[in-house]
C-alpha cells in the first residue's frame, strides 16, 4: 500500500465524517504492513471511544499479525481497561509465531496480573512451543494463580510425559484446596488425552 494512501486512511481513522467511514479506513489499514501503521492503530485503540471502531482495529491488527502487532498487544495487557486487556490476549493468541518472542518475555513480566494474562494467551494459542512455555511458568513462577492457570492450560493442550511430570512436581509447591484441585483435574485430562 502506498504511503499517501496510508496517510489518507490514518487521517480518516481519526477524523472520518462518520463512524462507518472510520470503520472502513481501519479495515483497509488491515491490508497494510509496517511499524508505523501498527503503532497508529494501537494508539487509536487505546484512545478510541467507539466500540465498533475498536473492534475493527482488533480485526486489522490480527490481520497484519506481525511482531509489531505482538509488541502492541503486549502493551494492551497492562491496561486498566478489561476490554483492552482481553483484546491483547486474543491478539497474542491468534497471530501465531509472531507472538512467540513477546510471550516468552511477558510470562516473566514483574506484574503478576500481566503474567497471568500472558499465560492465558499462551494457553489459547496453538503454538508448537506453548506446552514448553507453560512448563516453564509452572516450574519458575512464584504466584499461585499464575501457576494454576498454566497447569490448567497444560492439562488441556499437553500430551507428553514431561508435561505430566512437571504438573506432578508442582503439586507440592502450593497447598490450597484450589491448587490441589487444579492439579488433579489437569492430570486427569492428560490421562484421558492419551
Amino acid at each position: 500500500m502506498q504511503e499517501s494512501r496510508i496517510n489518507e486512511l490514518l487521517n480518516l481513522m481519526k477524523k472520518g465524517r462518520s463512524e462507518n467511514e472510520r470503520i472502513m479506513a481501519v479495515l483497509d489499514l488491515g491490508e497494510a504492513t509496517g511499524e508505523r501503521v501498527v503503532k497508529a492503530l494501537a494508539e487509536q485503540f487505546e484512545l478510541e471511544t467507539s466500540r465498533v471502531v475498536q473492534e475493527a482495529i482488533v480485526s486489522s491488527l490480527i490481520k497484519i499479525g506481525d511482531k509489531y502487532v505482538a509488541e502492541s498487544a503486549a502493551e494492551f495487557l497492562k491496561s486498566d481497561d478489561a476490554y483492552i486487556r482481553n483484546a491483547g490476549v486474543e491478539i497474542l493468541s491468534v497471530i501465531g509465531d509472531s507472538a512467540l518472542e513477546v510471550l516468552e518475555k511477558m510470562i516473566k513480566y514483574p506484574d503478576k496480573d500481566v503474567r497471568q494474562l500472558a499465560v492465558n494467551a499462551v494457553g489459547e494459542s496453538n503454538l508448537k512451543k506453548s506446552p514448553m512455555l507453560l512448563r516453564k511458568v509452572i516450574e519458575e513462577d512464584e504466584e499461585e494463580n499464575v501457576v494454576a492457570a498454566a497447569i490448567e492450560y497444560l492439562g488441556e493442550i499437553g500430551s507428553s510425559e514431561e508435561d505430566r511430570k512437571v504438573i506432578m512436581q508442582a503439586a507440592s509447591r502450593f497447598s490450597s484446596p484450589f491448587f490441589d484441585y487444579t492439579v488433579k483435574i489437569a492430570l486427569k485430562k492428560l490421562a484421558e488425552s492419551k
Binding site: 462507518n20 473492534e55 490481520k63
Partner: protein
C-alpha cells in the same frame, strides 16, 4: 490426502474465503477433494493442488468450494425466529419508517444456500405487508456457492423441503408438479440472488442499507477472526437500528460486543 496436505488445502481455502475446516472435518473434505481430483483428471493431490492454486480464473477453487459448502435446509426453518421477524421486528421497522414517503424494507439472506430461507422471507413479507400503504420491500439472497444459487433461482423443491409450509401458503406460492413444488414466478422475481463471499471487502461494502440480515448457521464455518470481520461488515451493511438473526446455537456476543442483544417474545435478535 495426508494430514499435511489437508492442512495446506485448509489454509489455502481459509485465506481465499475465510471458511475454516477443523481437523475433525478432514474426512468430509478429503472425500470431496478426491472427487474433484478424479473429475479434473489429476493423478494425485499434489498435482491437483498446484494446478488449482495457479488457476488464474479461480474456477476450480469455486468448484471445490461449491462441493464443500452445500447445506441442506428447508422452508420455515426455526419457526420461532420467523414468527419474531414477522410479528415483532417488521412492525418495529414500519413504525420507525412511518415518516418516510415510501417505506422501503430491505432484507438480506446471507448464506442463502438453495433458496429456502429467502423464499420463506419473501412469503412472510408478502403476507405481512400486503395491503399496507406506502410499503415496498426487497429480499437479497447471497451465497459463495454458485451451484446452490443456480438451484435457488430455479425455485423447484422436493416435498421434504416444503413440509413445514402451511397448506394455505403452499397453494398460494407454489405450483405442484407431482412430488415437486415450484415457487410461483411472482415470488421468485422478488428475490435477488447473487454470489458473494462474506470475506470480500470490496463486495461487502456494496451491501448497504439493510433493515434485517439473516445469517443462520453460516458463521459456524469461519474462525474467530473472520467471524469478527464479517460481523463488522454486517454492521456497515445495516441501517441504523437494523437487526441480525443468527442460528439458534450461535451467539454474536461471543464474536463481538458491537450489537445490542434484544430479547423479543419469540426470539433473541441482535440490533445495531
Amino acid at each position: 490426502m495426508t494430514a499435511e496436505e489437508f492442512i495446506k488445502l485448509r489454509d489455502f481455502i481459509y485465506r481465499k474465503t475465510g471458511i475454516y475446516f477443523e481437523e475433525h472435518k478432514m474426512y468430509y473434505v478429503r472425500n470431496r477433494v478426491e472427487s474433484r481430483i478424479k473429475a479434473t483428471g489429476h493423478e494425485n493431490f499434489r498435482s491437483y493442488f498446484t494446478w488449482m492454486r495457479f488457476d488464474v480464473t479461480g474456477q476450480e477453487l469455486q468448484e471445490l468450494v461449491n462441493l464443500l459448502t452445500v447445506n441442506e435446509t428447508y422452508f420455515f426453518r426455526e419457526y420461532y425466529q420467523l414468527k419474531c421477524f414477522a410479528e415483532e421486528v417488521l412492525p418495529e421497522i414500519l413504525d420507525r419508517k412511518c415518516e418516510e414517503k415510501v417505506r422501503m424494507i430491505r432484507v438480506w439472506s446471507a448464506g442463502c444456500s438453495t433458496g429456502e430461507e429467502p423464499y420463506t422471507l419473501a412469503i412472510i413479507m408478502e403476507e405481512m405487508l400486503e395491503g399496507i400503504e406506502r410499503v415496498m420491500w426487497e429480499v437479497h439472497a447471497t451465497d459463495i456457492n454458485t451451484e446452490v444459487l443456480e438451484r435457488a433461482e430455479m425455485g423447484i423443491y422436493s416435498s421434504r423441503s416444503v413440509r413445514l409450509v402451511p397448506e394455505e401458503y403452499k397453494k398460494r406460492y407454489f405450483i405442484q408438479h407431482g412430488e415437486l413444488y415450484e415457487v410461483i414466478p411472482e415470488l421468485r422475481n422478488k428475490v435477488k440472488f447473487y454470489q458473494l463471499n462474506l470475506m470480500d471487502a470490496v463486495a461487502m461494502r456494496k451491501m448497504v442499507g439493510f433493515d434485517v440480515i439473516f445469517c443462520r448457521n453460516v458463521l459456524i464455518y469461519f474462525d474467530d477472526a473472520s467471524r469478527r470481520q464479517v460481523a463488522l461488515y454486517f454492521y456497515e451493511a445495516l441501517a441504523e437500528g437494523g437487526y441480525i438473526f443468527l442460528g439458534h446455537s450461535e451467539s454474536m456476543s461471543r464474536i463481538t460486543p458491537i450489537f445490542k442483544l434484544r430479547r423479543f417474545k419469540n426470539a433473541f435478535v441482535y440490533q445495531k
